[in-house]
C-alpha cells in the first residue's frame, strides 16, 4: 500500500522570463514501511522535493496523494493539520527551542493536534525513552550533545506516530560517531515498521539503505531498490 504518491510533480519559482523550474515532472511512490534515501548534489531539487513531500509547499503542477488524500485540493489550514497528524520532520540543525526542556520540545510535536498537556508530556516521555534519552527529559538543548539534540528532534518527529518520517540531512551537523548513532536509531525505527525518507547528499549513507532515489537537475536520475528489507 502506498503512503505517499507524487504524480508528474513540477515546481516553478517566479514567473515570466525570471521563472526557474526546479522539478520537472517527478513521479515517486513511497510504500508503507519503506526506508529510502533521496540523494543528489546541491541544486538537484531534492530539498524542493522534500518540501512538497512534506506538504510544506505545493507543486506548480501535478498531484500529491498522502494516505489516499489528494493534497493539492486541501486548504492551507487542512494541509497544516495534515502535517501535524501524518508527517514528522527531522532537520539538519535540529531546530529545538533553546530554553525549553527536551520533554517540552517533544511534547510540542503533539500541541497542534489538540492533545491535552498531561497526555502530551506522558507520550513525549515515552518517545524520549524510545530514542534512548529517558534520563535527559529535563535537560535543555544547550545541555545536550549534538547527537542527543538530534535524537530529541527524532522523538519530536515521531511522538504523534506519523505515517512518514522525513529527515533532511539529519547527520549533516553531527560528528561521525553521533551521526552513526542517529542512523542506527533510524534503522531500529524502520525495523519497528516506520516509513522513513532520508534526504542526503552523502552517497555512503544512501548506499546502506534498501532504496535509493538519485536526483539530478530536477529529475529522478535513478531509483534503485535493493530488496534487502521491506
Amino acid at each position: 500500500m502506498s503512503v505517499l504518491e507524487l504524480q508528474g510533480v513540477t515546481r516553478t519559482y517566479g514567473t515570466g522570463s525570471a521563472a526557474l523550474t526546479v522539478l520537472h515532472g517527478v513521479d515517486l511512490t513511497v510504500e508503507q514501511g519503506e526506508y529510502l534515501a533521496v540523494v543528489g548534489p546541491s541544486g538537484s531539487g531534492k530539498s524542493t522535493l522534500l518540501n512538497i513531500m512534506g506538504a510544506l509547499d505545493r507543486p506548480t503542477t501535478g498531484r500529491v496523494v498522502l494516505d489516499g488524500d489528494d493534497l493539492t485540493t486541501f486548504s492551507d489550514a487542512r494541509l497544516s493539520r495534515m502535517r501535524g497528524t501524518h508527517l514528522g520532520f527531522v532537520f539538519q540543525q535540529f531546530f529545538l527551542l533553546e530554553r525549553r526542556s527536551a520533554l517540552e520540545n517533544v511534547s510540542d510535536g503533539l500541541l497542534y493536534q489538540g492533545v491535552r498537556r498531561a497526555e502530551r508530556r506522558r507520550r513525549a516521555a515515552d518517545a524520549l525513552r524510545r530514542v534512548g534519552l529517558g534520563a535527559r527529559l529535563d535537560h535543555a538543548p544547550g545541555e545536550l550533545s549534538g547527537g542527543e539534540c538530534q535524537r530529541v528532534a527524532v522523538a519530536r518527529a515521531l511522538v504523534h506516530r506519523p505515517r512518514i518520517l522525513l529527515a533532511d540531512e539529519p547527520t549533516g551537523n553531527l560528528d561521525s560517531a553521533s551521526g552513526r548513532a542517529v542512523l542506527e536509531l533510524f534503522d531500529v525505527l524502520h525495523e519497528e515498521g516506520a516509513t522513513i525518507v532520508l534526504i542526503t547528499h552523502d552517497e555512503s549513507i544512501a548506499a546502506r539503505m534498501p532504496r535509493m532515489v538519485a536526483m539530478r537537475d530536477g529529475h529522478i536520475e535513478s531509483d534503485v531498490r535493493r530488496g534487502v528489507a521491506a
Binding site: 510544506l56 497544516s80 508527517l87 531546530f95 527551542l97 500541541l111 497542534y112
Partner: protein, 394 residues
C-alpha cells in the same frame, strides 16, 4: 480529541516569548506601564480629591452666603450700613446670621513691638454666633461666651496665632491688642468657608464697644439660608443690607469658590491624562516594534511550528496573544503603581482613600486594546511566514 490547542495551551504559547526574553519583555512593557500609571494615578487623585471636597462640603454646608461691602460707583471701597446686620437677620429665609465688625486696632505679641508691625493681622469684633455660622472649629480653648466677650479676651485665627507665635494656651498667653493686654482664650482651626478669619483676631462686641465706641461698622455678615431658597435670597440680600445702594454690596457663596477651584484642578487632570495617553501611545509603538523584531528573529521557530501542524491562524494567535500579554503586563504594573501613588498621596493629604477601581479597569481595558491593535500587524506577518522556512538551509 480537540483539533487545535486549547485556551490554556494558547496562553502558554503566548507567554513563551515573554518568559524566554524576560529583560526585553519588561522593558517593552515599561512604556505602557508608565502611561497607565499616569492615567490611573491622576484619575485616582482627582477622584479622591473630589470625594474629599464633597465630604467637606457635606460637613460645612453649602448654604452659607457671605455679605460684605463691595465698591461704590467711584471704585472706592464701600461700607455696610450699621443697620444691615439686623435687617438681614429679619429676612425670613435667613436661618441664622452672625457678623464681624471692624475694630481700629492692631495686635502684637507684646507692647515692645512697634505699632506698625501688625503682621497683617486684622482685629474684629465677632458676634457670638460666628463660629456656628461659618462652621469653625476650635483647636485650643473656647469661643467667646457671654462672660468673656465683656472682658479683654481674644480668639485668634489659625494664621494669626502662628504669626503671633501662640502655640498652646496652657501658660495663660496674652497679646498686646490696641493699648492693653488681652488674654488669648481660644485658637481656631483653619476656617474653610471663611478663610479671611484665619488672619483675624476676634474680640467680643461688648469689650469692643467699651474700648472703641458704640458704632462699629459691620465688615462682613455671615448668613445661613434655607437650602431651598438660596438663589432667591442671594438677590434679596444686597437690597436688604443697603437699600439705598444695593450694588455696593457683595454677596458670595464660599462653597461655589471651592467647587470652582475643584473644576480648575480638573483641567490640570485633563492635561496630565493627555500626557499619560501620549506615554501609552509611545509604549504601544514600543511593543509593536519589539513584536516585529520578535517575528523576524523567530521565523525558524514559526516554520518548525507550521511543520508540526500549526495553521496560519494558530501562529497569528500565538503572536497576538504575546502582544496582548505584554501590554496587559504593562497595564497591570501601571495599575498597581497608580493605585499605590493615589493611596500614598491621599494618606499624605489626609484624604479618605478612594481605590480608583474604574480607572484601573479602564487602564486594563486600554492596555488590552493597545496590545490587540499593535499586535495585529506583527501577528499577520508571523502568520505569513511560509512553512518552507523550516527547511531553508542557513
Amino acid at each position: 480529541m480537540r483539533a487545535s490547542p486549547g485556551p490554556a495551551d494558547r496562553l502558554r504559547l503566548g507567554a513563551l516569548g515573554l518568559t524566554s526574553r524576560k529583560g526585553r519583555a519588561a522593558l517593552s512593557a515599561l512604556g505602557v506601564a508608565i502611561g497607565i500609571t499616569a492615567m490611573v494615578g491622576v484619575l485616582g487623585l482627582s477622584e479622591s480629591s473630589r470625594a474629599d471636597l464633597n465630604e467637606q462640603l457635606d460637613a460645612l454646608g453649602t448654604n452659607l452666603l457671605v455679605v460684605s461691602p463691595g465698591q461704590d460707583m467711584m471704585g472706592e471701597d464701600a461700607t455696610l450700613p450699621d443697620a444691615s446686620v439686623s435687617m438681614i437677620s429679619r429676612v425670613p429665609t435667613v436661618q441664622s446670621s452672625a457678623a464681624t465688625y471692624a475694630v481700629d486696632a492692631s495686635v502684637r505679641k507684646t507692647d515692645q513691638v512697634p505699632d506698625e508691625q501688625t503682621s497683617g493681622i486684622a482685629v474684629a469684633a465677632a458676634s457670638p454666633g460666628l463660629v456656628d455660622a461659618v462652621s469653625a472649629e476650635l483647636r485650643e480653648g473656647r469661643w467667646l461666651d457671654a462672660a468673656t466677650e465683656k472682658y479683654p479676651a481674644v480668639v485668634l485665627g489659625s494664621t494669626a496665632a502662628r504669626r503671633l507665635a501662640v502655640g498652646s494656651l496652657d501658660a495663660g498667653v496674652r497679646v498686646w491688642l490696641g493699648d492693653q493686654w488681652f488674654a488669648v482664650v481660644g485658637i481656631l482651626e483653619p476656617v474653610v468657608l471663611a478663610p479671611e478669619l484665619n488672619e483675624t483676631a476676634l474680640i467680643g462686641p461688648s469689650v469692643a464697644k467699651t474700648l472703641y465706641g458704640d458704632e462699629l461698622p459691620p465688615t462682613t455678615v455671615y448668613t445661613r439660608i434655607d437650602p431651598t431658597q438660596i438663589a432667591a435670597t442671594r438677590d434679596l440680600l444686597g437690597r436688604t443690607a443697603n437699600p439705598s445702594a444695593p450694588t455696593e454690596v457683595s454677596v458670595s457663596r464660599p462653597s461655589d469658590a471651592l467647587e470652582a477651584q475643584a473644576a480648575a484642578d480638573e483641567s490640570l487632570t485633563t492635561l496630565t491624562l493627555g500626557l499619560g495617553a501620549v506615554a501609552l501611545l509611545v509604549g504601544a509603538v514600543g511593543i509593536a516594534n519589539v513584536m516585529v523584531i520578535s517575528v523576524l528573529e523567530r521565523r525558524r521557530e514559526i516554520g518548525v511550528r507550521r511543520a508540526l501542524g500549526a495553521t496560519r491562524a494558530g501562529i497569528g494567535t500565538q503572536f497576538l496573544t504575546e502582544s496582548v500579554l505584554l501590554s496587559l503586563l504593562g497595564g497591570l504594573i501601571g495599575g498597581v503603581l497608580g493605585v499605590a501613588l493615589t493611596t500614598a498621596f491621599a494618606v499624605r493629604q489626609d484624604w479618605g482613600v478612594v481605590l480608583p477601581w474604574q480607572p484601573v479597569l479602564a487602564g486594563l481595558g486600554c492596555s488590552l486594546l493597545v496590545g490587540t491593535v499593535v499586535g495585529l500587524y506583527p501577528a499577520l506577518r508571523a502568520a505569513s511566514v511560509p512553512p518552507t522556512e523550516a527547511l531553508r538551509s542557513m
